[in-house]
């Protein structure tokens, strides 16, 4: 009997211990369940932290004085401090409070440190990011900043603020994602900020199209590439200089090219937010053309719809600053916004600031490459990637004089990117945030190198009354020797960068007679501009639409109102459809099937707006994508380049309008010679068959909202944390864009600033301030945004918000 009890006891104790151990270790992708579901400290703290306390006071060491942080009903922090140091410390604190995991994971991605927290499946990604070396670049820049440098001081203060929050949160109050992934943030440093800043620059400016274009040139030949991917739109401009290739052969080894493209694809989803839909709009209206008698500025940068949102909205007041706008969590700078005197917004220039060099490796010594007649050794850097649940991996990064080797498969290719030589833009942001006029703002832009942006600017001074509007393309633009660098180049030394376009020669316009200026990623300067800046310009449909709207409104009403500006941002008229529809109608005037006739009727009755209740929008969108595939798909397949980019719609527009017999319309798979109208008919037949298959046989029911949605995915990829899909307006061409049938990018921030009375400005973004999915501010602005509505900002000069709009107060006291 006693021995039975002993056995029973041993088994009971063993079961208890085993169960506790089981609950304490991760099982597959799941974190330890005991800690995760523990009612005090597990995931449930996410619910506890969903709402900030109405009033809280904290002691923080290192402050110059007290800081008051007021949160309004949208969770926007209004930070009132007495010094620059305290302002940036408090900004670091609120960024961490709202978005710590987002900051952390974006930094880890940029630094090539995802494997540390996500496991071995991220080693390849990490290796590639270490090869690019964003953290190396950041470290190099940081070393140039002395302790007295104001940028360094801002970075240090910001990091102290982030760390104050980390210390206060402990492990108990970390965001949900940390609990799910079972790790904790490390102390934040200026290096984290600069590395994350490097990611922004990389995502918006490092461009791998040269590789794709190289493959296209291999398959289609240089003449076809120059015709279909012209330097300037819409008329093809032959290159003024040779392409810098090695003669008649391929411009890049196919295996090397595909290896690079695969590595870049592997960087999703962290890079995608910055690359998908990198189109944007901004425009300014001069005081004389504004209904307020003061300038107006509108800006809506198009980036990913990620949650937590890519932006974090703030009002900073203290020291040298009194500024409102959007910041990137992890970085102490307002990138788009306004202060009491000026406003600015940015669109991506899309400049060509990346080149790829095919290095000739010494057959007798693979550690050397040829440059200007000599064999030079590759520089080697050894990096160690720590792996969660696995062994450390040592990675050797090799660099040539051009930059890191991005592939050695098939052939050795090095990447040269202006980000390697331009440091950080935070200094520029810190300067423009406090600029009071165009002169000061332009001086700040002198420090802004990468990614190249088109800055729309407006300023208003009350006494004496003064007003400025301006637009300027700004960045670091290489001048190449003997080449445009549109495809991979021979690295032996003949096609090097020999300097930079001088700052004073950047495209710029100030106070034009028209009374307005606009940019939408189109070519920045006319044909007489002497420097090559790039070729991947937006086809220009949005730019045409903005200019038409501004010009039309001024002609009709004399002035533009702030409400007009907001309406323009939500405009869905498809200018490309306007250009193509007459040709589609003519070719299909006698189409045979009833379905086709009904579809043509729907198109003829369509008002060209990509609104959710328009069947014409669905037919047009489906048609144009079919048509483009029909025109080029056969040629791409024959050249073995299927899946690579197709020409932009403006190139197709030129062919349709001016070259109906172009060989591109011929289907190379048939013996007959097809021409434009044949393909216009074929694409329409395919369109109606496709739509009937998806939505049934009544074209009137093929509304755009059934075909087209927007999805707001969480950065972790967890569906449980995403919002949408929602039926959505817009397409790739419209001012209010929604590219793709399931749009995952678009206006990431909409802002209309009324200079002279900035507190009447309106903003909105698709998300919310908090990264906590249970917070009322996780996606509270999304509902407004979806309705194309705005909120009026609060921009108080003293630490007080409008009655009834104060949600919480946090006072950071010096300890």
């Amino acid at each position: 009997m006693r021995s039975r009890l002993v056995v029973k006891e041993v088994v009971s104790v063993a079961l208890a211990v085993l169960f506790v151990v089981l609950l304490s270790i991760p099982i597959g992708p799941l974190p330890p369940l005991g800690g995760l579901l523990n009612p005090n400290g597990g995931v449930w703290t996410t619910a506890e932290g969903a709402k900030l306390p109405a009033l809280e006071e904290l002691r923080v060491s290192g402050l110059d004085g007290d800081v008051t942080i007021l949160r309004d009903t949208w969770g926007v922090p209004h930070i009132f401090a007495t010094s620059n140091h305290d302002l940036f410390l408090a900004l670091g604190y609120v960024h961490a409070q709202d978005r710590m995991w987002q900051m952390d994971i974006q930094y880890r991605f940029a630094a090539g440190r995802l494997s540390e927290v996500l496991g071995g499946s991220y080693i390849e990604q990490d290796t590639f990011l270490r090869t690019i070396g964003l953290e190396r670049i950041a470290r190099g820049y940081l070393e140039t900043l002395g302790p007295a440098d104001s940028t360094r001081q801002a970075l240090d203060a910001y990091a102290a603020g982030v760390n104050a929050w980390i210390a206060r949160a402990g492990t108990r109050n970390l965001p949900l994602e940390y609990k799910l992934l079972n790790y904790a943030p490390e102390p934040w440093t200026p290096l984290h900020t600069l590395t994350e800043g490097g990611l922004l620059a990389f995502g918006l400016s490092a461009d791998f199209t040269d590789i794709g274009l190289g493959l296209l040139q291999n398959g289609l030949g240089p003449t076809a590439v120059d015709e279909l991917f012209p330097v300037a739109s819409p008329v093809p401009v032959p290159p003024v200089m040779p392409n810098g290739t090695r003669g008649g052969g391929p411009v890049i080894d196919s295996a090397a090219a595909r290896d690079i493209l695969a590595k870049v694809r592997g960087l999703s989803p962290f890079l995608e937010p910055l690359q998908v839909g990198i189109g944007s709009n901004n425009w300014v209206v001069a005081a004389a053309r504004s209904s307020t008698g003061r300038p107006l500025l509108a800006g809506d940068p198009h980036l990913s719809f990620q949650l937590p949102a890519i932006w974090h909205e703030v009002h900073l007041r203290g020291g040298d600053y009194d500024v409102y706008g959007v910041t990137f969590p992890g970085i102490p700078g307002v990138f788009i916004g306004f202060n009491r005197d000026i406003a600015w917004s940015e669109t991506n220039t899309g400049a060509d600031v990346t080149d790829f060099y095919r290095e000739t490796v010494n057959p007798a010594n693979p550690e050397e490459y040829r440059f200007r007649g000599a064999w030079l050794p590759f520089e080697k850097i050894t990096e160690t990637i720590r792996v969660k649940g696995g062994r450390e991996v040592a990675v050797t990064v090799k660099t040539s004089i051009h930059g890191p080797l991005v592939t050695q498969r098939g052939e050795t290719v090095a990447m040269r990117w202006t980000g390697n030589e331009s440091g950080s833009d935070i200094a520029a942001a810190l300067a423009w945030m406090k600029a009071r006029n165009w002169t000061e703002f332009r001086a700040a832009l002198q420090m802004f190198k990468n990614p190249a942006q088109n800055f729309a600017f407006a300023a208003w001074g009350a006494s004496p009354p003064s007003s400025t509007i301006a637009i300027r393309t700004n960045g670091l633009f290489p001048i190449r020797n003997n080449t445009l660098g549109r495809v991979p180049l021979d690295g032996a030394g003949d096609y090097e960068w020999k300097g930079w376009v001088p700052f004073d020669e950047y495209p710029e316009a100030v106070d034009p007679p028209e009374g307005y200026l606009a940019s939408a990623n189109q070519i920045p300067a006319g044909s007489r501009y002497p420097h090559y800046l790039g070729w991947q310009w937006d086809p220009g449909y949005r730019a045409r639409r903005i200019n038409a709207l501004l010009n039309g409104t001024i002609s009709a009403n004399g002035t533009v109102t702030p409400q007009d500006m907001r309406t323009f941002q939500g405009d869905t008229l498809d200018v490309a459809a306007q250009e193509f529809l007459p040709f589609i109608a003519a070719a299909n005037a006698a189409c045979a099937s009833v379905l086709c006739q009904q579809a043509m009727l729907a198109l003829s009755q369509w008002d060209l707006r990509m609104e959710t209740n328009r069947p014409g929008a669905t037919i047009w969108y489906t048609f144009i994508h079919r048509f483009r595939e029909d025109v080029f798909g056969d040629d791409w397949a024959a050249a073995n380049v299927s899946g690579l980019m197709l020409p932009y719609p403006d190139v197709l527009e030129r062919l349709v309008k001016h070259a109906p017999d172009s060989p591109w319309f011929d289907d190379v798979r048939t013996t007959a010679i097809e021409r434009r109208d044949h393909l216009l008919r074929r694409a329409m037949n395919e369109t109606v068959a496709d739509l009937a298959g998806r939505f049934g046989n009544g074209p009137v029911t093929w509304t755009w909202g059934r075909a087209h949605t927007r999805v707001f995915a969480h950065l972790s990829g967890l569906d449980a944390l995403q919002r949408g899909p929602y039926p959505a307006e817009g397409d790739d061409i419209t001012l209010d864009p929604g590219a793709g049938l399931e749009a995952r990018a678009g206006p990431s921030w909409r802002m209309v600033v009324t200079l002279g009375s900035p507190e009447e400005s309106t903003t909105v973004y698709p998300g919310g301030q908090s990264g906590n999915p249970l917070s009322p501010h996780y996606a509270d602005q999304l509902a407004l945004w979806l309705r194309r509505e705005y909120k009026v900002v609060q921009f108080p000069a003293t630490a007080a918000l409008a009655a009834g709009t104060l949600e919480s107060t946090l006072v950071l006291r010096r300890s």
Binding site: M1, R2, L5, V6, K8, E9, S12, V13, L15, A16, F19, V20, L23, S24, L33, G34, G35, L37, N38, P39, N40, G41, G42, V43, W44, T46, A47, E48, A50, K51, R172, L176, L180, L718, D719, A720, L721, P773, L774
Partner: protein
């Protein structure tokens, strides 16, 4: 002596529950198993020890969360967790309840059997025996 003090069944549960509460308050959820062991030990027998263990752990875990739910959007989190785990919020609730039940059962059983083992060395008190068979 201890067994005699814990003679009514609820006293062992009370002790176990207080200890569970303290464990959770300290952020040491794994000590829940020891709280259950104490409750089980006080019950004096293995099988009833498991029951006392469960009674002293699961309600505290669940109550903690219910109280939290009064001030925080716990139900929203359950939906999210259910979405992450796959089948839905039911699985999240199931796992959450299962953990303290098993901790309580294993801990309570170990405590109860230990009490039985120790009681073999001395005559079992009548009071304890009565308590075991008392109607509940």
């Amino acid at each position: 002596m201890l067994l005699r003090w814990a003679a009514p069944w609820w006293k062992s549960v009370l002790v176990g529950s207080v200890l569970t509460l303290v464990s959770l308050a300290l952020g040491l959820w794994m000590l829940t198993v020891l709280s259950a062991a104490v409750a089980g030990f006080l019950s004096g027998r293995g099988r009833s020890g498991a029951a006392r263990g469960i009674q002293s752990t699961a309600p505290v875990w669940i109550l903690w969360l219910l109280v939290l739910a009064l001030v925080a959007p716990v139900e929203g989190l359950l939906l999210i967790l259910g979405g992450i785990l796959g089948p839905g919020w039911g699985l999240a609730v199931f796992l959450f309840v299962l953990i303290p039940i098993l901790l309580g059962a294993f801990g309570g059983m170990a405590g109860g059997v230990l009490a039985e083992l120790l009681s073999k060395d001395e005559p079992r008190s009548g009071a304890a025996a009565e308590t075991e068979s008392a109607p509940r």
